[in-house]
Structures are given as C-alpha cells and as structure tokens.
Subunit: 223 residues, 2 copies
C-alpha cells in the first residue's frame, strides 16, 4: 500500500490490508512541486498527511514574517497539522522542499478505526508523544544553546535524520538553515564559515560534507 513503509516507527504497522484500504481508499496521492504549500497555518482542513516521497519543511509563521522551521519530514512520516480531533485548524505550515508525493487521509477515518483496532490508537498516541518529546528537546536547544551549538545540531539532524549520509546536497537555503537554528542568515553564514575554517565541514556548491562529526557533536552538546 502506497504509504505503508516497513519500519518500526510507521504508525500504520498495526493495520490489516483491509483497514489500510479503508484509510487510503482512492489512491489519493497528491504531488507537490518545490515550494508548494501542502498545509497552510491557520486554515481549516480535516486531513492528515502521510509522506510517500520527497522532503517537506514543517514551520511556524511567526509575527513579522519570521519563520521557525520545526522539522523536516520525509518518506513514511505521518503528520497532523495540529487540528487533529481539535477543531481542524492547522497550527503550522508544511511546504515542499523537493517534489513531494503524499497521501491525504481524512482524520475522521482514523477514529473510525479505533473500535476495530485499538492498537492503532496506541500507535497514534505514541506518535504524538514522540512529537511532543521532540518539541521539548528542540525548545531547550533553541533557548539554552549558543549559536554554534544550534548550527551543529541542525547539521547533525540533517545528516542523521534526513539525508542519512555525512555528505549531502542541501535542499535548503541559508535562510532556511537559519530558520531551523533560530538565528539570522548572516549569523548562520558566519558560523558555517568558522566550521569550514576549523575543518569541521566542507562545502561544495549546495553540498555540505561533515568532516569531523565528533567535534560537531561536542559543539552541539556544549555550545
């Protein structure tokens, strides 16, 4: 089934084929181009998203046009826009940073499945608990670390969670990296420069290569 990725974190793993079919009945797969908005903050919608392919950024549009990128989602990730069972208003914007294919699942169908399969409710709750814990630790990083620590963390996040390679071609601009790390683009550039001068990273065009991961880990911990 389209959105069913075989791994431990997939919330659909407890569903039967029949149940999966019910959830995603009409092969409702949508394609988005780069920069297209998938979910728009403050609008109302009743679907949740399951990413099939590509990468998207999840961000909050703050006051004064200042964005905060909360996370990047990719293949197999499931995300509800903050309105799930709670008024349907989306609390963040999601937009494609590479071409995206995803399934839109009607939120109402989720709860209909609970009576048939209550393990599924547990999976959904686990998903939310994890998201919660992630937000808590992100909040601490953003508030208690100096800029180098935050940039180091962003780079490690991209390596470990998104590109899964210490050498990757970035789908994000410097501005967006800054929005992930809670600083201005100028500050971000300066810190990347420092990392380059210390031979911690290397850049080539829009690519970044992490040369000294241990140092980066140290900076992210103590920064």
């Amino acid at each position: 089934m389209s959105c069913f990725i075989e791994n431990d974190t997939n919330i659909f793993k407890s569903l039967s084929h029949k149940e999966l079919h019910f959830l995603i009945d009409k092969k409702q797969q949508i394609r988005y181009n780069v920069r297209e908005t998938i979910i728009k903050q403050n609008t109302s919608s009743t679907f949740v998203i399951c990413m099939r392919d590509g990468l998207a950024k999840v961000y909050i549009e703050g006051e004064k046009g200042k964005n905060l990128i909360v996370k990047i989602i990719g293949r197999g990730d499931f995300i509800s826009g903050g309105g799930l069972f709670n008024g349907n208003v989306q609390h963040f914007t999601i937009s494609a940073i590479t071409p995206v294919t995803c399934c839109l699942i009607d939120a109402g169908k989720l709860s209909s499945l609970f009576s048939e399969n209550n393990q599924f409710a547990v999976e959904l709750l686990r998903n939310h608990t994890k998201q919660n814990n992630y937000l808590l630790s992100k909040m601490v990083s953003l508030t208690q670390k100096y800029m180098p620590g935050r940039v180091a963390e962003t780079l490690l996040y991209l390596k470990n969670d998104i590109y899964k390679n210490s050498k990757f071609t970035l789908d994000l601009s410097r501005q967006e990296l800054a929005e992930m790390s809670n600083m201005t683009k100028e500050s971000l550039v300066r810190i990347l420069q420092q990392f380059k001068e210390s031979n911690i990273i290397k850049t080539h065009g829009s690519g970044i290569e992490i040369l000294d991961e241990n140092t980066l880990i140290n900076i992210s911990k103590n920064g």
Copy 2:
C-alpha cells in the same frame, strides 16, 4: 470520582462510572508537599498524573542546571511524562509549587479502555494535540520575542490560566518566573521593575496585581 472535574477539557468526560472506577481503582491519591518531585526526568515510570488539587510546575532540566518551565498544571489537568506508550522514560520533571493531591493512573489501563470506549482514545489524542500546539506557540514566543514580551506573556498566562484573577499571590520565585520566561532572574527583575514604573503592574510582597492588562497584551504581542 476523585479526579473527574466537570469541564470540557477533561479527558475523562467520555468514561462511564464503571470505566472511571477501573482506571482509578484504589483511591490512589497521593499528596505532595511544596517542592516535592512528582515525576523525575529521565527516570522510568508507568503512570500518568491527574491533578486533583494544588499547583505543580512542569519543567525540563537542561544542561548546566538551567531549567525551562514549560507550564503550570492544576486541578483537573491530566499529564503524561513523555513516556506514554513510548518506553516509559519521563522527559520532564514535575514538582509541586503548592501542596498537591493527585491520582497516579497506570498507563497500561488507558489502552485497555480503548476497546471498550474508543471515544476515550480520541480524547487522549486531543489532549496530546493541544499540548503539541501549546509547545509550538511557546517555542515561538521564547525564540521570537524580546524579554518584555516574554515576561508580559508569563504574567498573562498566570492571570488567565492559573490564578484566574488579575490580582494573585505568587507561588513562584523570581528565579522560577525567569525559568518560565527564558531569561536570568536579574533580567526578569529589571523588567518587572519597568512594568511597575509604567504602572502596568503593582507588587505587594509575593503578590502581583495587573493594573493595565491592555498594555500588557500589547507588549506580549509586539515585544
């Protein structure tokens, strides 16, 4: 039933008396004194908390002994320590700021109820979604507002959500107010001083009175 508070946000509202009894069978009400720890970050436990009386602070213990108070919980609030269906490890510490009475509910019992009453799963999910949205907006405030804005927000939060009165006696120290607002205690004191000088608030002992709420709202929005 002890923890059942009649209001819209209570997650137990969909449960029958029998179901509630199952959840909280042995009148497992615990009392905590001021400063006592109810849940300790990084320890393992399988219960969730329902507050019956008193106030507690929910906070993350960051590196270098720097705390971030995420929120204050009181009567009727339900909270899981971040380990719910997810390894049981607590991701934050909860400790009493006034004498607290609360129920400890075994997390395993929650999922057993899902098959009987799947509306309950929806309520739990709604609770998590709300918590999520709260964390997102808190994250934006902490990162995108200047100190006066963050202090104003903290004061309004205490007025509206905790004490429900524009005049209240504080159960929190300046240090703790600072930990809610992500700044040092010295900075917090200076800003309170400014607010006093501008006749926005008045303090008497450990009490605070909000004199000019509109200005405070403006500061919290634009600060």
